[in-house]
Amino acid sequence: MSATDALSPSKLAALRAVAIVLIPGDDRSPAAESLTDLEDLLQRAATAIGAERASLHNAIAMLPDGVTWDSIGKFADDEPVAFELISTVVAGAYFMSPIVLKSLGYPVGPRSAPPFDLAADELSSGVLAPVLERGRTYVLPDPPEGDPPQAPPRQSSSNPPSLRAGSSLADVVEPRNRREPWSKTT
């Protein structure tokens, strides 16, 4: 990221103000305000969004003066796209902090290989026994003589379901934009 793309002090201050309002602490996780490197994290988060940086600059410019819980809540209602980008950067910065990740139980720092015998321990528990008891389930197109019949039984090709391409996906899945909300089933 070039120097011209970096958040100016005033824009950084605006993001910091949003972070302080949106992310107070609780008994297990720290408040955004308490993170000594919060501004560095915000700057890094703003860089990481790449091509959306211009949109972020515009969104910050739309923020209300004097961010409060009520004013940022109203901003979220009035300018949902701008709020989503700002809040994503703010949350992204917060959850980059090792202190915060540790509070969630996440490992921080270098990773390590799994214990050598972990897979063996898992599989020696007998957890696969029900699967193995079922026997072969795949279909042999030309089963050798004496083999059990194919499983499952086949459907007659005289009445195939429609295989035509075409209509809308709307009743099957969410819109194709993967950033769309997920639909809750339970």
Partner: protein, 530 residues
């Protein structure tokens, strides 16, 4: 050997191109591979960086149109649901694949015989099995033998652990009496050749920051160049050239400074994926090169992924990989006459390592339930999120196709591909069924909440230059040789007659190995341009 002439020109340095280049160079042929992308340094990949979830929004997106790198060509996806994904680099899209290492089942090669739909392949599972075995050994694939849902298969490496997440789901699947099996992955269990040991970053599909995944830049290319293959990066092929005798004699390509180059070759191997290979064939001739069948670019299949995520109360350590698949299920793989669709799906269970991804599940909540102290309650579902994905068998449809866009162009000025892809009614029904069953699996495993995800774009690009014995109804023969141009081979997923439901890279690599070996074995009888 120089860059002006070679025995074999390979176009594309992804899985199929790397296998072909290695195989042919090892047999003593001079090989030049042209790749539009460049090498990716594992240290540049986003997965080990604290901001990785922000980096994957744009810079490291799966979508070339979002990524917007010069080496990526744009794709017109105005009529594509979902849009295809791909990655231009040495190793191709395997740089960002999950390394789920699955084989087609015997029935996949014979669905005309079994179901009365589509076409049988001209080859069988048994024809391909030795090549599957050979690639498995070369890459150090990890997994557990003995799965009753697939033909006998041995693994060169033991399986990676499933962790508490996999064990949790195993209990649920056993309650339902449904098939599952520990994941088979192209991720060695310990350091192997040029690959490091997996340290479970859980971000395989964003590129392995540890260099522990068998992406083909690591798994094959060092061996291919060691055998003498020459790899030219930043080389975008504009067209395959054909001489007056109707034989392929090389290609015209452009470097990153847009300088034009000509390379001559005795044989040409296309390995640019089902979109890129079609594009090159269509750019090479007004009617499409090797297109007497009229099928070049048609019958694109992509494996759209249905997805259900479960949030659990138990600590599942879903920041740990492999991801990679912790387990897979073939419970609903074969055609079931009780369903209103043909064929089925392959499921893979994956951990969700990202905190922001989990928070995104709650995007519909009112402001006061998402922010403030409420944020901390929501964020504590991180580490407890499991995803079931279903690859559904995507049957070939003539309307799903790749053509050249009349206006959109890449950074070289070459026409961009236009992908027209709509889910068939069969796939829609299959996805709907799979989503319902995956939700049941989560509930049986004790999920506190489940969410249906959006349709996931797929990088499984298959079927636009299918193989067959009849030149009227296929583009290439059973070894990937063009019916029209006998020294032109296609070795990527384009040649697949049907898609199956399994992740296709193992099949693509096996097909490429089989085709390259056939090319080498028959070289003395091979008509060449010069």
């Amino acid at each position: 050997m120089d860059r002006e002439s070679t025995d074999v020109l390979v176009i594309g340095a992804g899985p199929s191109g790397s296998v072909a280049a290695h195989t042919l160079a090892s047999r003593g042929f001079s090989v030049v591979c042209l790749e539009q992308g460049d090498w990716i340094n594992p240290g540049d990949l986003p997965g080990a960086k604290p901001e990785f979830e922000l980096l994957i929004r744009n810079t490291w997106s799966w979508d070339p149109n979002v990524r917007g790198r010069a080496e990526d060509y744009p794709v017109n996806v105005d009529e594509a649901d979902p849009p295809p994904t791909m990655f231009a680099a040495v190793g191709g899209s395997s740089v960002i694949y999950g390394a789920h290492w699955m084989r087609l089942l015997p029935s996949d090669f014979r669905i005309r015989t079994l179901d009365g739909i589509c076409d049988d392949w001209p080859i069988t599972y048994e024809d391909l099995a030795p090549f599957y075995d050979e690639v498995d050994r070369f890459l150090g694939v990890s997994g557990l033998s003995g799965d009753p849902a697939i033909p006998k298969r041995e693994f060169p490496m033991p399986p990676l652990p499933m962790g508490p997440a996999g064990m949790q789901m195993a209990s649920g699947m056993n309650k339902l009496g449904w098939h599952w099996w520990p994941g088979s992955n192209a991720i060695p269990s310990w350091p192997f050749k040029h690959m490091a040991q997996c340290v479970r970053w859980g971000v395989c599909e964003r590129g392995c920051p540890a260099g522990a995944k068998a992406s083909f830049d690591i798994g094959y290319w060092p061996h291919a160049t060691g055998a003498g293959a020459q790899l030219v990066t930043g080389a975008r092929v504009a067209r395959v050239t054909v001489n007056k005798r109707g034989l392929a004699d090389g290609a015209i390509w452009f470097d990153q400074e847009q300088a034009e180059h000509r390379i001559r070759a005795k044989a040409v191997v296309l390995a640019a994926n089902a979109v890129g290979t079609s594009r090159i064939l269509l750019m090479s001739d007004p009617d499409g090169l090797a297109n007497s069948s009229g099928l070049v670019g048609k019958r694109l299949m992509t494996h759209p992924n249905g997805c259900v995520i479960g949030l659990y109360d138990e600590e599942l350590e879903t920041w740990n990989g492999p991801a990679g698949q912790l387990m897979y299920s073939l419970q609903f793989y074969e055609t079931d006459p009780a369903n209103d669709f043909y064929r089925g799906s392959k499921w893979n269970l994956m951990p969700e390592p990202g905190v922001l991804a989990v928070l995104g599940l709650f995007r519909d909540l009112p402001f006061e339930e998402r922010w403030g102290r409420a944020l901390h309650n929501l964020s504590r579902s991180a580490g407890k999120a499991l995803l079931w994905y279903a690859n559904v068998d995507d049957l070939p449809e003539e309307e799903n196709r790749v053509t050249l866009d009349p206006t959109l162009a890449d950074s070289t000025g070459l026409p961009a591909p236009r992908v027209q892809y709509r889910l068939s009614e069969n796939s829609r029904r299959n996805i709907r069924f799979s989503i319902d069953r995956m939700a049941e699996a989560h509930e049986a495993a004790g999920a506190a909440q489940t969410f249906v995800g959006p349709l996931i774009p797929s990088g499984h690009l298959l079927g636009t230059a299918r193989m067959g014995d009849d030149p009227r109804t296929s583009v290439v023969d059973r070894f990937g040789r063009s019916h029209d141009i006998p020294n032109l081979f296609i070795v990527d997923g384009s040649v697949m007659v049907t898609a199956g439901s399994v992740n296709p890279t193992a099949t693509i690599a096996a097909l490429a190995l089989r085709a390259a070996r056939h090319l080498a074995d028959t070289a003395r009888e091979q008509p060449v341009a010069s």
